[in-house]
Every structure is written in C-alpha cells, then in structure tokens.
C-alpha cells in the first residue's frame, strides 16, 4: 500500500492508500479522524468538503490523495477550537451563520481563502467569492455578514 506524506494542519503526517486516486476527503475523515470536511456530492459541485491545499481552497472530494503529497493541507480543525475560534469562525458564531451546519466547513474554508486573497472584500465580492459553495438551509445572508465581519467591516 502506497504512503503519502504531507503537512496536515502544521504537522507532518503520513497516510496510506491502496488507490492513488482515493480522494483526500476520505483519507482526512477516515484515517486522520478529521470530520470537519464533509462529503456533499463527490463531484466538486457543492463545496462541503473544502480544505486548503497550500493556502488554496480545493474540493477534497475530487482531489486525489497523491496530489496532496508534499503539500500543506489545512482543515477547519486547524483554524481554531470552540473555545478559541479563529476570526472567521468567531464571526460565524457571532452572526449565528449556520442552520444545519453541513455546509459550514466549506463556507469557513472558502472564506479563509477569499480573505487571504482579498482582506477587505465588498459585499458583492463576498457573494461572488462564495458562488461555488451551496447552502440548502438558506443561511446566505448571515454567512455573507459573517465574512464581512471577519474582514473587519461594520455589519
């Protein structure tokens, strides 16, 4: 069984897979026990599985594990904790920007990548930046407000 090494939330990690095409999502969830990234579609369409690969938001459900080798993988668990949330997570909590919360991982991670690129986005830029992430409960207005809040904008 082939092994793959990468940095996972700032620490060296090694995983194994019988299939180099196994999506990173399954490895993170089932080997590393990181359940923040969620299986939503397996097609890269909804964003629930989003993680950062070298700082860039990727869909871990369609990212083969071999593509993570040698790279930095960040998951939502690496940002903060319920007691010490990072700035984006804290904004989601303050805005109560979640209903069922199944999309929240993707929203937080997409927002991290967006704010890293554009620390002071406009409302429209936030909406465009999250256009590829789906929320079924309809929490959109709160999520946008949370991202604006995380950017330091008055909400």
């Amino acid at each position: 069984m082939a092994t793959y090494k990468f940095q996972l939330n700032g620490q060296a990690a090694m995983v194994e897979s019988w299939d180099p095409a196994q999506p990173l999502l399954y490895v993170l969830r089932n080997q590393a026990g990181l359940h923040g990234p969620k299986f939503g579609c397996g097609l890269g369409q909804c964003g629930a599985c989003t993680v950062l690969l070298d700082g860039k938001a990727v869909r871990s459900c369609v990212t083969p594990v071999r593509q993570a080798a040698g790279k930095n993988v960040s998951t939502i668990e690496g940002l903060g904790t319920p007691q010490k949330p990072d700035v984006v997570q804290a904004a989601f909590i303050a805005e109560q920007a979640s209903q069922c919360g199944y999309c929240t991982n993707g929203m937080v991670m997409a927002a991290k990548a967006l704010l890293a690129q554009n620390p002071k986005p406009s409302l429209e830029q936030v909406k465009q930046g999250l256009a590829g992430n789906l929320c079924r409960c309809g929490t959109h207005t709160r999520i946008v407000r949370a991202v604006m809040r995380a950017s330091g904008a008055a909400v």
Binding site: A13, N30, K38, E77, T81, T104, R136, G138, T141
Partner: protein
C-alpha cells in the same frame, strides 16, 4: 518532528473507535450514546414528568424530548422553555433529543410542531415539576430521586411578563462546534468494527436484478457484495473501496414499469385516475354566487416535484445484534422509524432503538428512512455495524419527493371588486395509511407498509380575505409518478402561491393597490398589523397600475403577498423587489421585507434565522427547482441538473418579528415559505406584465413568457 501515521490497520488496532485528531489535540466529541445510557430504563410515557425531566445530583436538569433540532434552533428553545418554568439558568438545563430508548414519543419533527407540541409538552412537565424541584433536598438530589408526578395539564405556567429566559436571543450552543468542524453528525459516527456500505440503485424504479458480476470489482480490496433478491449493496472496511465498488460493480437489470416523464406532468395529473374528491372548504353557495358575479377570472397554477436536496446525502449506522438493532440516524421521526423497522424485521419494538444524531438539513422526509433500512439490511448480512451513506445521485435521484400539485382557481367579483365567489380545485396524491415504503425493503422482497402521505396538502387554498361563497375541492389521485413525501410547508406552498398570485390579478381587475385590496378583505388585527408593518418596512408606494419602466433590459417590479399559515397559525406578509433581465430571462430578487407574527417568541435570533432561511430556500424552490424524470428514472441527479440558489442571487432581507408573549406560540419552521412564491410572481408581473403560473421561474421560461406576451 514526529510524523503521525495513519493506517486502517492502526485504526483497527485501536478498535476503530473514536479517532483522535492529532493536529490540534482536538478530540471528536463522544458520539455514541454511552454518556446518556445511564438513563436507560427511565419512563417514556408522555403523561409522566419523569419521562421529560431528570434532575441530577448537582441540581441541574436534563430534558428529554422526542423532537429534534434540524438546524432550526429547537435545541436552545426547548431548553429556554424548560429553564423558565423550572426557574433555572438555561446553562443548568441540558437536552436529549430523539432517542427512542430515552425520549417520549412526541410525534415526528414536522409540520412546524417542534415547539408547539414538543416545547409545550416539556413546558407543562416543567411547570408541574417546579414546586417539587424546589423542595428537593441535597440528599434527594444525591440519591437520584425522581419526581413520580403525572404531568398536570392545569399546572400554572409562569406569567409571561416575568419571563427571564424565554424571549432572549440566546446563542445556539452547537454553532461553535459547527463553525470549528467539531460538531458530531451521523455522517461522522464511527465505532469499533464498523464497516462502510453503499447501495446500488437500479437504473429504473422497480427493475428486477437479473445478474451480478462480482469479478468486475476484483481489483478493489476487501469488498463483499450483498444481494438480497433485487437489493444490491456492497460492504467494505475502507469507505473509498465501498464507493468504488458500488460504482464499478457490473449488474444486469430487467425492465421496469414506465414513468410518464416530467415534461407534460400537468396534463398527466389532470387526466389521472382519481380515488375520491373531497370538498375541503365549502361555505355559502359558490356556484350561484359565481353565476351572478360582475366579473369572473380564472387561472391555473402548477407546482413541480421538488427534492429535499439535502446538502449531505442521507446516512445511517446500524448495528444488528442479539435479535435487535440500534440505528443512528438523523431521521425526523425516530419513534416512527423504530416501529416501522421492528415490523419489517420482525423484531420486538423493545429490541429496536433509534438514536437521533444531527445530519444535513432534511426539510421533511428525505432519504433518511431509506438509508436506515439499507444499513439494517447490510448490518444483518455481515454481522457488524455498518455505516451507509448515499451518494449524491442516490439522494437526488431516490429520495421521496415533494409531489407536484395542480390548481385551478376561479373567482367572481362584485361591482366593487370584492370577492363574491371563490372556487379552487387541486390535484394532489391520495393518502394511504401506513408507513411510506422503503426502497431496499421492497427490493429485498420483505413485507412492509405501502402507505402514502405528503403532509397536510390541502390547507390554504381558500382566500384569507372576506369571501362569502367559497368552495375548495381536492381531487385525490390514485397514482403519482414519484414516491411522495412531505417537503417543507407541504401543499401550502403551492396553494398560497396560487391564492396570492390570483389575488394580485383580482386587485388589478378591481383597479386597486394590491396592499389596499388585501387590507380591505381583512378584519383580524394581527393580519392587518403584519401587512402594514411589511408595507412600512419596504416603503410600499400604493399603485393601481404596473410600475413604469426605464429603457434598457432590466425591468424592475414590486410584489406583495400575505398568508395565515394553515389558516390558523402564523401571520406572514412579504414584499419583494425584483429585477428581470429581459435579454436573459434571469430574475434577481433585490430585497425582501417580511413581518412575521407567531405569537410568543421563544428565541428571536433563532426565529429570525428560520424566517430568513425560509425566504431564501423558497426563492430557490420557486426560481430554480424541478425534479425532472424521463420514462425510466429521475434525471435531476446532482447540483448541475438540479440547481439551487447561489450566493450572488441572495437578496437583502429585512424581517420584523412581532412578539406576543401573552399569546400561544406557533411553530416557525415553515410559515414564511408560503408567502414567497406569490410575492415573487407578483413582482415579476409588476416588472414585466407577465403572469408566471408555473414553477420554477427559470430563465428559459421567463424569456418564453416575455416573448409570447
């Protein structure tokens, strides 16, 4: 630096139990029921206080409810209601939901009854227990004393004027965990020896399985193929192996009964065999009044099949052992699922336990019941706990659907434009008693109920406005092409769409402003209040003709709608501003104002979240959503073939919550939805002069309607 190594072998060595995340020292919270199993054996009878409340040695209280939090805020709201009556801080009250071994059966969490039944029953138990709790000594508490009280329906509730906890916008306790990736969903549950299962649905509903070729997945490690008559599944230690095996396993399927296709479904429904007709409203004599009316209007409305489209496909873990089974599921009605599984698998109900865990939002009966049955079948076959998660095409393709609905409306106006007569006919699936049939159980050839129901579909087809002669007839169809189930605000969403879009036509025919026209037909002060508040918030300018349009492709309009949910509960008014691009047919809702009165408000923040979500979700359903199917199968099987609303389309939303602490509470998980399609259709008419009467309002349909106008 040490390298953390993960392998399946390691996982198995550690029992495969809750895996500890190494990176941040974060531990996935305990997800098995072990922490609460100490309470096993407690009463479950809803007439007993001890069924709802358990007091601990430190004086804190656990509340047990059969209702579950589907992301709606019920989890904090029920704690607030209990804490208020018990005179405890809310932090001293915890909640256990939807565990059939621990929580009383309070009915499924549907029809917006989470608080109206779940919360109210808990509140009454808490009011009954208040005095007894106050009198308990430290020794009583330490000895685990129970209340041994019958719930007293007459027990005095706290005076709403003294409320300290109810009415407060207390933050939902699970959101810090959701926002940091640590909230336990059923999809995240792992346990010792657990295997991963996937099911292979047939290419057409009801097709027979003729042959399976296990050699086709020889290259995939450690997979077992499970075939039970026409049920086909795979089980593997590794989830990815199960996913690939399900995808690559070659199977030969036979013919299946043909579907009518979604293309001309309205015609199919109108011509469908009817089981019976029922007059659901019959007031005065509509036929005579219609004949004598000064002006008559009629219109036909159609609502398509829609999916629950849960963001995470349905998932369950089942552990069959010792003649019984435990199922972990995010099903909305755990007690009903328990009884159904007990009947299907011929197990005593006492040996079947369904434990609710959060899942992706379900908005009604999605695939959760089906996947639970899948997991039980597979666990029974391999004699180990099995986790089954549907793939995206399973959820979109096979979850039971919110059914199509066809409505004919007719109205007669008197010489002043008042409604003299109103007639509505609707075509809806007939109800049959018993549980909805589960896919894998039919496929496996096991006996089960073949009930049918999709919620209370016939309400709200009569106008909420003064109308002396009203007749609403439901034609209950014998057959409906796709397996129906309740989907948020069942039936009422289509009915109010029709009623409010039609009322807009009536106000235009009467030459009146739509808001003024509605107010003229209402006497209920609460109805008038939400309408006035909405008009104020929105800045509604009275109009008797369509809004003038600037040159260019963008047409801008405003629409209004009002409803009283189920004609008996929440008052909702909504105004909307929309821009329609006549070159593309695209609809952009710019802003929405909504005043909402659900009586007593328990948690205004969570309530507001519900109302906002209902507005956005229903805009999605109205603009985008239709389950399409051909002669064999559903063809809307992912997010590109079943698109939903995206962020750039999300409007600005302003919600006014009207609180009546002195009045009974109504549930708020559905009501605001029903005003959305009518307000939108009316705004589109104002912008374009086109009446859209068939959902969804896709760009193609809008363009076609504009071209034929």
């Amino acid at each position: 630096m040490a390298t953390a190594t993960f392998s399946r072998r390691n996982l198995l060595k550690t029992g495969g139990a809750l895996v500890v995340s190494f990176a941040m020292g974060a531990r996935v919270r305990a997800q098995t029921a072990s922490g609460v199993d100490a309470a096993l054996g407690k009463p479950l009878d809803a007439t007993e206080v001890d069924s709802f409340l358990m007091v601990h040695a430190d004086g804190s209280v656990t509340v047990y409810t059969g209702k579950v939090d589907l992301g709606t805020g019920l989890r904090i709201a029920i704690r607030q209601m209990a804490a208020e009556e018990l005179e405890l801080p809310v932090e001293r009250v915890s909640l256990v939901e939807g565990d059939t071994a621990l929580t009383p059966d309070q009915g499924g969490t549907g029809g917006s009854t989470g608080l109206t039944r779940g919360g109210v029953e808990v509140r009454q138990a808490a009011a009954t227990a208040r005095e007894a709790l106050r009198k308990m000594s430290p020794a009583d508490l330490a000895s685990g004393k129970r209340f041994h009280l019958k719930v007293d329906p007459q027990a005095a509730l706290k005076d709403p004027q003294t409320y300290k906890v109810v009415g407060q916008p207390i933050l939902r306790p699970e959101i810090p965990f959701k926002a940091t990736g640590r909230h336990p969903y059923v999809q995240d549950l792992t346990m010792a020896g657990m295997l991963h299962g996937r099911v292979i649905h047939p290419p057409a509903a009801g097709a027979k399985l003729l042959a399976v070729d296990p050699a086709s997945i020889r290259a995939i490690p450690d997979v077992r193929v499970i075939r039970i008559e026409n049920f086909l599944g795979v089980v593997a230690q590794d989830e990815w192996a199960a996913v690939r095996a399900a995808r690559e396993l070659k199977a030969k399927w036979g013919e299946a009964p043909a579907l009518p296709g979604s293309e001309n479904l309205d015609t199919y429904v109108r011509q469908g065999a009817v089981d019976r007709d029922a007059a659901v409203v019959n007031r005065g004599n509509s036929a005579t009044a219609m004949a004598g009316a000064a002006k008559k209007l009629s219109a036909t409305y159609f609502w398509p099949n829609q999916g629950h489209a849960s963001l995470g496909p349905s998932c369950a873990v089942a552990d069959v052992r010792e003649g019984g089974v435990t199922v972990w599921s995010s099903v909305q009605a755990s007690h009903a699922l328990r009884l159904n599984l007990a009947k299907i698998f011929a197990m005593p109900p006492a040996k079947v336990r369904v434990v609710y865990m959060d899942g992706a939002g379900s908005y009604g009966g999605n695939g959760n019941d089906d996947v639970a049955a899948d997991a039980v079948l597979l666990s029974r076959a391999v004699n180990a706990p099995v986790r089954v998660q549907w793939m995206r095409q399973d959820e979109h393709g096979w979850d039971p659907k919110g059914p199509q609905q066809l409505l004919d409306l007719r109205a007669g106006l008197d010489s002043q434009g008042n409604i003299a007569a109103w007639e509505a006919e609707m075509w809806v699936p007939m109800n049959r008693p018993g549980s909805r049939p589960l896919l894998s159980i039919d496929a496996a050839g096991l006996a089960q109920d073949h009930g049918q129901g999709a919620g209370l579909m016939t309400q709200n087809a009569d106008p909420p406005y003064a109308a002396p002669h009203v007749r609403v007839v439901a034609h209950y169809l014998k057959d409906t092409p796709l397996r129906p189930s309740n989907l948020r605000a069942p039936g009422k969403i289509a009915n109010v769409f029709a009623v409010e879009a039609f009322t807009d036509e009536l106000s235009a025919a009467a030459g009146m402003d739509p808001v003024e026209y509605r107010l003229r037909g209402l006497t209920d002060a609460r109805a008038i209040a939400v309408i006035r508040r909405t008009a104020d918030m929105f800045g509604w300018q009275p109009k008797t003709t369509r809004s003038p349009q600037a040159p260019g492709n963008l047409l801008v309009g405003r629409g209004f709608a009002y409803a009283r949910y189920k004609q008996a509960e929440n008052y909702v008014a909504m105004a909307m501003e929309v821009a329609v691009d006549r070159s593309t047919g695209r609809i952009q809702v710019r802003r929405v104002a909504c005043a909402h009165d659900c009586g007593l408000i328990v948690n205004p923040n969570a309530l507001r979240n519900q109302v906002e979500g209902l507005i956005v979700q229903t805009l999605s359903r109205t603009i985008h959503e239709e389950v399409k199917f051909d002669r064999a199968r559903v063809t809307s099987v992912d997010w590109s073939s079943y698109p939903i609303l995206r962020f750039p389309e999300a409007p600005a939303i302003e919600v006014a919550l009207i609180d009546h602490p002195e009045l009974p509470l109504y549930g708020a998980g559905e009501a605001a939805a029903v005003a959305v399609p009518g307000a939108l259709a009316n705004a589109i008419y104002d912008a374009t002069g086109v009446r859209l009467r068939r959902v969804p309002f896709t760009p193609e349909r809008v363009k076609a309607a504009l071209a034929s106008d």
